[in-house]
């Protein structure tokens, strides 16, 4: 299949977004948005760095590639609208698998009424999927990292550590509880879009998604807001069967594992009830995991056994270290 036929095979026949004027089929896509702010982010996944074919199907690669980008939009409280996809296709990947990647993206895109409006396909040695997403927020309603203030409550959505637990199960076959649940959390994370779109009633909030581990994301909020964050380690939310792992595994995966694509944020104490209401309405668990203080020597402290331990900024940096395990 040549590039022309391939593009034809993945091109949408109809588009869902009323703001779109021109989708795939020209030199560029065109849209118009006169009342809302426009939010855009991009993320890339590379075979044997971000996923392995042994543990991830082509469909899941696509699903995950778009999901991690949607998580960035959720972290801005932006409503997804469009995505563009470029793929490096190695000769040993059959075309039907590349189409499966696009099918995986389509599954999550359809849920959020997103349109595929552009892309590029090129040959190369290793599979690489580069996704750019575009979304909308009401004017001045994007949620930034720089909005945390001393006294705020720090919260996290969902449960933490599940993605790394799922990866561990995939890499170390054995008898596990809730295997399917954990593996799905790793392979097909569910970005917190609906929760993020129900936060209008909260007047001030810092927000970040948890791609690199909560300690690292907390540090980004702290740095952008010129404050420090205290995380109560015992209060980090975990799945019911998470206690099948050792204490060290549980702690490492929750604090530094990342890839849960949950949200971490801060709100004034007075707005906690409003946050809980969004939690209730979207069936999204929200847990109080700490608080914001004036800026200290370290940007993040772990409160464990009544002791405050400073955390160095860490987490995955793919540029520095290729993860051979995933």
């Amino acid at each position: 299949m040549d590039e022309f036929s391939f593009i034809k095979s993945i091109k949408q026949h109809t588009y869902k977004q009323a703001s779109l004027l021109k989708g795939i089929g020209d030199d560029a896509a065109v849209f118009r948005q006169m009342s809302q702010d426009i939010v855009t982010a991009t993320d890339m996944m590379v075979e044997d760095v971000h996923f392995s074919r042994e543990t991830t199907s082509a469909f899941q690669v696509g699903y995950r590639a778009l999901a991690i980008n949607l998580s960035d939009l959720a972290a801005m409280a932006a409503k997804p609208a469009f995505y563009l996809v470029s793929v490096v296709v190695p000769s040993h990947w059959p075309t039907r698998d590349i189409q499966e990647i696009f099918n995986g993206m389509k599954q999550i895109a359809v849920n959020h009424h997103m349109d595929l409006i552009g892309g590029d396909t090129v040959s190369g040695k290793e599979l690489c999927v580069s996704v750019t997403v575009i979304g909308y927020t009401a004017q001045h309603k994007s949620r930034y990292r720089h909005s945390a203030r001393p006294g705020d409550i720090v919260f996290a959505t969902g449960t933490l550590g599940d993605s790394q637990a799922g990866l561990h199960m995939l890499m170390n076959p054995g008898m596990y509880q809730d295997y399917d649940y954990f593996v799905r959390r790793h392979r097909m994370p569910a970005p917190r879009v609906s929760f993020a779109l129900n936060l209008d009633r909260v007047s001030r909030m810092a927000l970040n998604d948890i791609s690199d581990g909560i300690a690292s994301e907390a540090s980004e909020i702290a740095g952008a807001s010129n404050v420090s964050l205290v995380l109560k380690v015992a209060d980090l939310p975990a799945s019911s069967s998470y206690d099948q792992f050792t204490a060290e595994q549980r702690r490492n995966w929750q604090l530094f594992g990342g890839e849960d694509f949950e949200l971490i944020g801060t709100v004034p104490e007075s707005e906690w009830p409003a946050l809980l209401q969004a939690s209730h309405e979207t069936n999204t668990a929200v847990t109080d995991i700490g608080y914001v203080t004036e800026q200290q020597q370290s940007s993040v402290y772990l409160l464990e056994n009544s002791q405050y331990k400073p955390v160095k900024k860490q987490g995955y940096t793919h540029l520095k270290q290729v993860k051979s395990s995933e």
Copy 2:
């Protein structure tokens, strides 16, 4: 250098676009555009497919990666505003070379007052640069492929075949005229942005950029407009010392070589003077290279030695065939 330090090193200290609300430093970038249409395109370059380190410096890789995306914006008559860049970084590429890639992009970005507003850096085996660009046009002023009508004049900007001639010189060392000129045309193409932004006075126009060879681009206009295009081969514009190559080379590179990043378009005969005025004001050569007819059996015909020859749609399709030569 870890990813955090690297991002810091390439982050702009100030932004030029007034429509930008948030640049690099959060989960996504945010901008607002209430009066113009928004145009977006994405393109990817892979080492040893789109360029070779033997013939292209890191700076030129970056310059070219953004230039080919700007060419897509020019083909829509859109004013460049933003770019996002994701890079796969192999371990054998030193960080200073990656920074040089960004410096190359910056050089052409500064000329067009563009801001770098997002990106991703990941490890991998082969260097890959994925660029997404965002630009603006006045409402309903994007130039599409579907606007050609029978009777229109077909035009091309600049000269054709130069990029492939430059590549030939790089791959086949020898004595050549205007070596630097041709090699520069290959390594650092100049997208026709200023010309494209001066076309307001032309009321109807089909427009495409020449990335895949003019025969292929003509076919795209023909297909989108339900017409056929006739290209007068003898009239294709060439550089003054282009005749140092064989007749076969000249013809092949002009018709099928691509990567000149010139523009091909069609205008009603009555608007030819307006087109020439844009040509004059922006110092951009424009040549009448053919005409549009009612839809025929073939979408494109070459008029050579008074004969009409149908052309099959062809040109580079990177998905189908890796170019080992470039």
